[in-house]
């Protein structure tokens, strides 16, 4: 027989795109990461849509009984992938790290069209009295839905699908059940039954469908749907077409049956050539031909093409798209049925428009303060019109915009284009953070008075004042200030302050090069590890190093982790003893109990206070990437402080250090959330040296959790040049890893080149080795380290990573 290219026989799985389909975004709470679920059940869609398109039918389903479920439903059916990030409002910085993606499980966008209508329907149905009427029919004998009373409301207890050809009920897990919107427990009127039946008849899957009600003894009815599946001729292969730019095929408006034989012939011919033209004008798909071949391979085996076969083809094609992240791609039509080659029409979800919109606190569109170019430069080009929408591009946009730290809420929201049925409009909704924030906090601290007990005068009020002005001129410039004091009555004793101005896009917002200028003034107080005793020399009086100064630097980012920072630092360094008095030399207690004050000079000038200005540069080249939560790759850091003869005693120096860390993956592993990290060998080396004037507080120290583990900070020495070598073997256990390490540090004989030789003065070894084992538990490392100098070991618990 001549193949009948009759579009009238086309299986229309879905076509109508909503006019006013504003999808409701899914809502995610801050910090949660709900992976997007692009492959939500597409097959579920088909008939629900058709039902809805009929409109006006009230039905209730059990899963919308609570508001929460309804929200979930909205997310699920929105057909639009909504992604959102909520950051903790207020001080944004802290909250940004986690970010948060949430996905409304979109995917089957096209199947869900009249969503607004849907939701309204549900809303109406919600209010409906749950009572139902008894069927009043003879129990046991099936009644056609057409014969049911129109004024009654029937409660259904079950739905059975019966294949008319085989005469048996199909298995309850059959995908056909997804076509039926009636769910057990629902209450329906005869009109609704009729609508459901019409839907099933028109969905194209069946040649004929009948629906009967089986009255039950408790007054409810059990629905029995008898169907005969549509069938077409055997086909050899399948071909996929991109019909994005083509108008949707419409069912013929003429009634074929009313035509004469000749008319029908010409009509068919016309249809045939129309279709051929359509096929030829279609654009290619991004779907690789392997998928087509794969489908053709099993299609050949099928004796007939049935609705199920088409469903399977559609599922397979859509699965490929959704697996690749093209969440808006869908099979919209099958053509050329009854021929050797089935044509599968695909809408891939090409982006037609990109809209960035600011929202106020109430979620209403508003004028944003942020310069649009700042947002635009963060958007991946794959979100620009002409590209096929991909969930990963959406996620990337979310990530990069989130990285700006300007918004409390970000949504990336694709929705069907109203003008172009197959197009996607990507909407980005941004909620800006407050531009100015200020915070004052106070606290009381009670310190023991002279008698050892707290007295009224020993209660100290403390507090901090923080202010932040972010996004100045809408260009993401920010000013941050913070003053802290633990004693407000006598604030000169202990005031910590920091003020920072950040100026991004130094080369202009339109320049792809992104350099950030940062200026800050600061102070800090740290315990100097240079003045630390060696083993058995614990009683070393502490020396505090106070730094206060100005800093201006420029950071240029290369890859996400690699950057180059350079700038100038001017600081005043003061060394103080425990009583906050300026001290000029390190001191120690002699075994005789005498106090010796003639230790190494703490400062370069010898007065206990140095002023110094220098150039500082830091290059971090980080090529590590995370494999199942553990870094693999290499990291190199070079840092140099170059003295400029500015300051006390005109210091000229070059203090440099080079760090190299390699994370060598020992075994290949699959990547995935459930798989543990691979075995990794970490090799680490660090060299530091200083030529020229070297103050004691700038000497390199050996020992400590980030130098040679198993020793205290600075326990091994303070020197002019250091070399550290470390190796760590990480072996996965469950989802975390255990590790063994060996570390070695040496002063390269340079301790004597630090004035006063603090290494020798405090009886330190000048070098040492350690080894140990440990286990990583989340952020915490628990490790046992053996100190090779004294041969003793100890257990340590540390936060964060060593390398």
């Amino acid at each position: 027989m001549v193949s009948m290219l009759n579009p009238g026989l086309d299986l229309r799985i879905c076509q109508r795109h909503a006019r006013n389909a504003h999808a409701s975004p899914a809502v995610a709470s801050h910090g949660n990461i709900n992976p997007l679920n692009p492959t939500s059940e597409t097959s579920l869609g088909m008939v629900q849509k058709t039902t809805a398109s009929k409109g006006g039918i009230k039905f209730s389903t059990p899963w919308r009984s609570s508001g929460l479920a309804a929200a979930g439903f909205m997310a699920g059916i929105s057909g639009v992938c909504a992604m959102q990030v909520f950051s903790g409002g207020g001080n944004g910085c802290g909250g940004w790290n986690g970010g948060g993606f949430s996905g409304g499980g979109g995917g089957d966008g096209g199947f869900w069209h009249d969503i607004l209508q849907h939701i309204l329907l549900f809303a109406n149905a919600e209010d409906v009295d749950r009572n139902y009427d008894s069927h009043g029919l003879k129990i046991g004998s099936p009644v056609s839905v057409t014969k049911l009373k129109t004024d009654k409301r029937y409660k259904i207890t079950g739905v059975d699908l019966r294949d008319a050809r085989s005469g048996t009920n199909i298995a309850p897990d059959d995908p056909f059940y997804e076509l039926v919107t009636m769910k057990p427990g629902g209450i329906f009127t005869a009109a609704q039954f009729q609508a459901e039946l019409d839907n099933l008849t028109n969905c194209g899957m069946f040649e004929r469908v009948t629906m009967d009600a089986l009255p039950q003894s408790d007054g409810t009815v059990r629905m029995q749907v008898t169907f005969a599946e549509s069938e077409w001729q055997h086909s050899e292969s399948v071909r996929c077409l991109n019909v994005s730019s083509l108008p949707q095929t419409k069912p013929p408006e003429v009634d074929i049956m009313s035509l004469t034989e000749v008319e029908r012939e010409t009509f068919m011919k016309q249809q045939e050539s129309d279709y051929k033209e359509r096929v030829e004008s279609a654009k290619p798909v991004i779907l690789p031909s392997e998928v087509e071949r794969e489908i053709s391979a099993w299609l050949k085996q099928e004796a007939r093409v049935t609705a199920r076969v088409l469903q399977r083809i559609r599922d397979q094609i859509q699965k490929w798209y959704h697996d690749q992240g093209f969440a808006c791609a869908q099979v919209v039509n099958f053509g050329n049925l009854n021929s050797n080659e089935i044509v599968c029409e695909i809408v891939e979800g090409e982006i037609t428009k990109l809209v960035v919109q600011f929202q106020d606190k109430m979620g209403l569109p508003c004028e944003g303060n942020t310069d649009m170019r700042i947002v635009e430069r963060e958007l991946p080009k794959q979100l620009q019109p002409g590209y096929i929408f991909n969930i990963e591009a959406g996620k990337k946009a979310l990530r990069t915009i989130n990285g700006l730290g300007l918004f409390s809420n970000i949504e990336v929201n694709p929705r069907p284009d109203e003008k172009d049925e197959s197009g996607i409009v990507v909407e980005i909704k941004l909620k800006e953070l407050d531009q100015k924030t200020a915070e004052v906090s106070t606290e009381w601290s009670i310190t023991p008075g002279s008698s050892g007990w707290p007295s009224l005068s020993s209660i100290q009020p403390g507090g901090s004042v923080t202010f932040e002005h972010r996004n100045i001129h809408g260009l993401n410039r920010s000013l941050f200030g913070n003053v802290t004091s633990s004693n407000l009555l006598n604030p000169q004793d202990d005031v910590g302050f920091k003020m920072e101005y950040v100026h991004p896009y130094l080369d202009g917002v339109d320049n792809p090069r992104n350099r950030v200028l940062k200026g800050s003034c600061f102070n800090s107080r740290k315990l100097s590890p240079v003045f630390t005793g060696g083993p058995g020399f614990d009683e070393v009086p502490t020396v505090w190093v106070d730094r206060a100064g100005l800093k201006a630097n420029i950071t240029e980012n290369f890859t996400r982790q690699s950057k180059f920072t350079y700038g100038l630092v001017f600081e005043e360094v003061t060394t103080r003893d425990e009583t906050s008095a300026i001290c000029t030399n390190g001191c120690r207690t002699l075994p005789s109990g005498a106090f010796s004050m003639d230790g190494p000079p703490t400062t370069l000038s010898g007065t206990g206070m140095d002023r110094v200005g220098f150039f500082q540069a830091n290059i971090t080249r980080d090529t590590t990437s995370f494999k199942n939560g553990t870094p693999v790759g290499a990291r190199y850091i070079f840092q140099v402080d170059q003295g400029l003869c500015v300051g006390s005693k005109h210091p000229l120096f070059n203090r440099h250090q080079f760090t190299a860390t390699h994370f060598v993956q020992l075994k290949k592993v699959e990547e995935g959330a459930k798989i543990g990290p691979p075995s990794v060998l970490v090799l680490h080396g660090r060299y530091g040296g200083c030529i020229g004037d070297l103050a004691a507080y700038d000497a390199f120290t050996l020992g400590g959790p980030y130098s040679v583990r198993g020793y205290n900070m600075g326990e091994l020495g303070a020197c002019r040049r250091i070399l550290e070598l470390a190796g760590e073997l990480r072996l996965p256990i469950l989802k975390t890893h255990t590790y063994g390490f060996v570390e070695y540090g040496t002063d390269l004989g340079s301790s004597k080149d630090v004035r006063g030789n603090p290494t020798e003065y405090f009886r330190r070894a000048g070098g040492g080795m350690s080894y140990g084992v440990g286990v990583k538990l989340g952020l915490i490392r628990a490790e046992y380290a053996q100190d090779c100098n004294t041969g003793s070991g100890a257990l340590f618990v540390r936060f964060g990573e060593r390398f």
Binding site: V279, P284, Q324, K381, Y387, G692
Partner: protein, 322 residues
């Protein structure tokens, strides 16, 4: 800094037995002939080995407080004695060992207190009745060399105190002395790296105890019958008149070379080197990383951009005729 008194007349000399006096006078005469009219002797050693007692024995007076059970000397003490235009300076020092470590700090204090002095002879004091040479001894020897320069060992006399002892069974006194002194000398030579042609460090046996045996002349004698004090002075005189240069303790020796000065002039060159050969290449590599990151795109990016970039990559549509 240092407790020292105005040079006094060496009255102690007259307290010595006549034979000893004669011997010492002969030695002083020798010095005078060499035109040496002052001699500075530095006494160093671990704590409690008998440095102060040796000083007392040498001068013949109780110039330094000594006690049997603890180290009394906490400061460097110099005593000067004049006899017929000749000045003898003897510098007594605190012990160099504290706990089980060399007290570098003490050594440094000693050195500082000797500023602008010239050391003619150094007596390194240890006990004869010690049985082994341990690590601490090595450290002390090294520390002395480090503080005063290795040259100080060229003007050294090894003084072994507590020389009146009965050696363990089966060893004769002379054997014991030889073994003990050889062990120490070898150790010193090894630690300080002596050259072949260098003169041997002379050994002087010392017995400061008041119960020391005396000979008929009232001179203190050792178990082998020798009189030790003139012998010690002889060694001192020998070194003072010998070829070895005395050690001048000046500011430079005390402070050592200033490490902050070393290489300072090269700092600009070093920075230039770092800029050209470390920073520039690293920035270049990072730029390359950035480019390769763009090339190594995830599959979705490749697919999404497929149409725009290479339309030919898409398989041409095949049309089949029926």
């Amino acid at each position: 800094m240092m407790a020292s008194s105005q040079p006094r007349e060496w009255t102690g000399l007259q307290q010595f037995p006549v034979a000893t006096q004669n011997a010492l006078h002969a030695l002083l005469e020798k010095l005078r002939k060499e035109d040496v009219n002052s001699l500075t002797v530095l006494v160093l050693g671990k704590g409690g080995v008998g440095k102060s007692s040796t000083v007392n024995s040498l001068v013949g007076e109780r110039v330094a407080a000594v006690s049997a059970f603890q180290s009394e000397t906490i400061r460097t003490v110099m005593c000067s004695r004049v006899r017929a235009g000749f000045t003898l300076n003897i510098i007594d020092t605190p012990g160099l060992v504290e706990g089980l470590f060399v007290n570098d700090h003490a050594l440094d204090t000693i050195r500082r207190s000797l500023l602008n002095k010239t050391i003619d002879v150094m007596i390194y004091v240890d006990r004869l009745d010690g049985y082994r040479v341990d690590n601490l001894d090595r450290q002390v020897v090294r520390a002395i060399a480090r503080s005063f320069g290795p040259q100080i060992w060229k003007i050294a006399v090894l003084g072994l105190t507590h020389a009146q002892l009965s050696p363990p069974d089966g060893i004769s006194y002379s054997d014991f002395v030889e073994r003990r002194s050889n062990a120490l000398i070898e150790m010193i030579q090894k630690e300080v790296v002596f050259k072949k042609g260098d003169p041997q460090i002379p050994i002087a046996l010392i017995e400061n105890s008041g119960r020391c045996s005396t000979n008929s002349g009232g001179e203190k004698v050792l178990p082998d019958g020798s009189v030790w004090l003139p012998k010690l002075v002889e060694h001192i005189v020998d070194i003072a008149t010998g070829s070895a240069e005395p050690i001048v303790i000046d500011k430079k020796l005390i402070d050592g070379p200033n490490p902050n000065k070393r290489g300072r002039v090269f700092v600009p060159l070093i920075f230039l080197f770092q800029y050209l050969f470390i920073m520039k290449p690293m920035v270049y590599l990072m730029k390359r990383d950035m480019e390769s990151e763009v090339r190594r795109r995830p599959s979705w990016e490749v697919l999404a951009g497929q149409k725009e970039e290479s339309p030919s990559a898409v398989e041409p549509v095949q049309t089949e005729e029926y």
